[in-house]
């Protein structure tokens, strides 16, 4: 018909196909999915993706794998909602969709030569693992990596083997804690804020990166400010209801920002004057 035109243009809402190559059980509620994406998939550490459960829906996740690896992507997911509970039922060779990567990741260039304090809570260690891999791949560029990780119970801890390996690495310092111990646990007991004292860092050239549940990020941020960190040196990964990932659907606004477009990584300096950021 004459009164119709067609246009061939990139469809920003179309997911790419990804196959579940492996599933690693990290804890009773957390699994890592190893995905092989049709055509390679590249991301910068800290950026997020939208995973599609075909015919069901999407949810946002930050990859937990090394951004230098292009042919596979790992995403660590906690079973907490409608999509994640269905994702947890997947098996090897199942097909998912993936869109992205979206947003602004960790500014590695600003971390050069610095002491990098990384504070994780629960499944919040997932995006931080990707950051750790990125840092480890160029460890000469950084002065020191200090990881402080807290989980609810020993059972809820993820990447247990890796934590032990990282602790043995040069220029890397790892301390973990659990809120509540059990018979087998011989480590620290207490909230993650309790292992933020006597840090082996030089505050004058340190940055802090925090990821975890909002309440944990709130108290860790307060503690870091207390220790003398400047708001501009505290990097937070914000969790909001990112749906389109493109700054259009409107769900993830905080203040003048969209988390999907301007984040998900923000400095506390950028967020500190926005009310209720921890809600």
């Amino acid at each position: 018909m004459e009164n119709q035109t067609t246009l061939i243009i990139k469809n920003i809402y179309q997911p790419k196909e990804a196959m579940v190559e492996d599933i690693i059980v990290e804890s009773p509620t957390i699994k890592t999915f190893v995905l092989k994406v049709k055509d390679n998939f590249e991301f910068k550490t800290g950026q997020f993706v939208e995973l599609t459960l075909p015919g069901v829906g999407e949810a946002p996740f930050t990859p937990s794998s090394d951004p230098n690896i292009k042919d596979k992507i790992e995403i660590t997911i906690m079973n907490v909602g409608r999509i994640t509970s269905l994702l947890h039922k997947l098996s090897k060779n199942d097909i998912l969709g993936i869109r992205g990567p979206y947003g602004r990741g960790y500014p590695l260039d600003k971390f050069m030569g610095k002491d990098i304090l990384i504070v994780g809570g629960g499944v919040g260690l997932a995006p931080l693992r990707s950051l750790l891999f990125a840092l480890f791949s160029e460890i000469d560029k950084y002065h020191k990596v200090v990881l402080r990780y807290g989980a609810r119970t020993p059972n809820d801890m993820i990447y247990k083997k890796s934590l032990l390996e990282w602790a043995k690495m040069k220029k890397v310092d790892v301390v973990t804690t659990v809120d509540v111990g059990d018979a087998t646990w011989k480590g620290n007991v207490g909230l993650v804020t309790t292992i933020l004292k006597d840090l082996p860092i030089d505050l004058k050239k340190a940055v802090a990166v925090v990821c975890g549940p909002p309440i944990m990020m709130k108290f860790v941020t307060l503690k870091l400010l207390d220790l003398g960190f400047l708001p501009k040196d505290i990097y937070l990964s914000m969790e909001k209801n990112m749906s389109c990932g493109l700054g259009k659907c409107g769900h993830c606004r905080i203040g003048k920002f969209y988390v999907c477009r301007d984040g998900p990584v923000f400095t506390y300096e950028e967020l500190k004057d926005i009310p209720d950021i921890w809600d």
Partner: protein
């Protein structure tokens, strides 16, 4: 750009001749009682001949560019997709609609990724606007320094004059359209253009009086009001009658929020876009249950912060064109003018 005169009879013939290439939408009056009629966009045909709407239609202009429900993708197939979209002409658009459309353009075109369907429609839809010759009680464009006649953003603009219209060309698309029947379009005379100016000023003055007595909040202080009024009880008071219908969002020509919804259809998967409302309880809820907009008061405040803080920061203009559609649609009688006035009143007292 250039201005022409066309008489009503010729305009009618001209539009009829366009029907073979375009779907034409034109306002249709619907009168409920003795009050002023409402206008709805309808197909232009024998049952719905061309009429002039003195003020904006009931539906927001965005309905033509991002409909309430539409399919965005079938997956998995190639990243590129063929869209077929009809050529459309919309008549009876007003300046408030065109101003609001800047917000939609910002969202769907100017962000880092271009929405393909929106872009296609932006190219295919021809907007024929017209001057307002009257206003509704809820109209308050002037409070935001928006005039009741357009200066830009249209393809063609009609200003009623004597037995016809002055037609101002606003774009290449508009010029190409009238070149199809250039014999009907006579270059406007000076006297006709000054006569248009007089009519425009008269309406503007009438509307200014209507707006002035209401003592409305002005453009330059509105961002400050919503930010400083964050903790006021205004939100709590005004939300009391909110029934969370989302009408204010859906009828708003600047509101753009949507949900992505996936469905299995036989052997393929499809993704749809559905308008969403920030007044709905789960709008900002995340997996695990945290919900930063848990209460109706917070959601009402969200609507105002988005319009008067976020868009002022990001686009340099508030996302309200003063069309008053949200006031008319609200079953709880929540009036955007009154909410802002309440903030101003309470902040003054502090």
């Amino acid at each position: 750009m250039e201005i022409y005169y066309i008489n009503s009879f010729q305009l009618d013939i001209f539009l009829k001749s366009l029907k073979k290439d375009y779907k034409i939408f034109s306002p249709k009056a619907i009168r409920k009682d003795s009050s002023l009629p409402d206008y709805h966009y309808n197909y232009l045909n024998e049952d719905n001949p061309l009429i002039f709407n003195p003020y904006r239609c009931r539906e927001p202009l965005k309905s033509f560019f991002s409909p309430a429900f539409e399919k965005l993708a079938d997956y998995f197939n190639s990243e590129k997709i063929n869209y077929t979209e009809e050529k459309i002409i919309v008549l009876g658009v007003k300046n408030c609609d065109l101003i609001a459309h800047k917000v939609q353009d910002f969202v769907f075109l100017a962000a880092q990724e271009i929405d393909p369907l929106y872009k296609l429609r932006r190219e295919n839809i021809i907007l024929i606007s017209s001057d307002c010759t009257d206003f509704k009680e809820v109209c308050h464009c002037l409070a935001w320094e928006i005039l009741p006649y357009p200066k830009e953003g249209f393809d063609l603009n009609l200003s009623p004059l004597n037995e016809g219209y002055l037609v101002e060309v606003g774009s290449v698309k508009g010029r190409e359209l009238i070149q199809r029947a250039s014999e009907y379009f006579v270059p406007a005379k000076e006297v006709q253009i000054s006569s248009r100016q007089v009519k425009r000023k008269n309406l503007e003055e009438r509307l200014r009086k209507h707006v002035l007595v209401q003592n409305l909040v002005s453009k330059d202080i509105v961002q400050k009001l919503v930010k400083e009024g964050y903790n006021l009880d205004t939100w709590q008071e005004f939300m009391l009658t909110c029934v969370e219908c989302g009408g204010c969002n859906f009828i708003c020509d600047t509101c753009h929020c949507f949900l992505l919804m996936d469905k299995k259809e036989e052997s393929k998967n499809s993704r749809f876009r559905v308008w969403d409302s920030c007044q709905y309880a789960n709008f900002a809820r995340v997996a695990g249950g945290a919900n930063p907009l848990k209460t109706r008061a917070k959601r009402l405040r969200n609507r105002f912060l988005k319009k008067f803080d976020f868009f002022v920061e990001n686009l340099g203009m508030p996302a309200c064109c003063g069309c008053g559609r949200c006031i008319e649609v609200c079953p709880g009688k929540i009036d955007i003018r009154e909410v802002l006035k309440d903030l101003a009143k309470k902040l003054e007292k502090l």
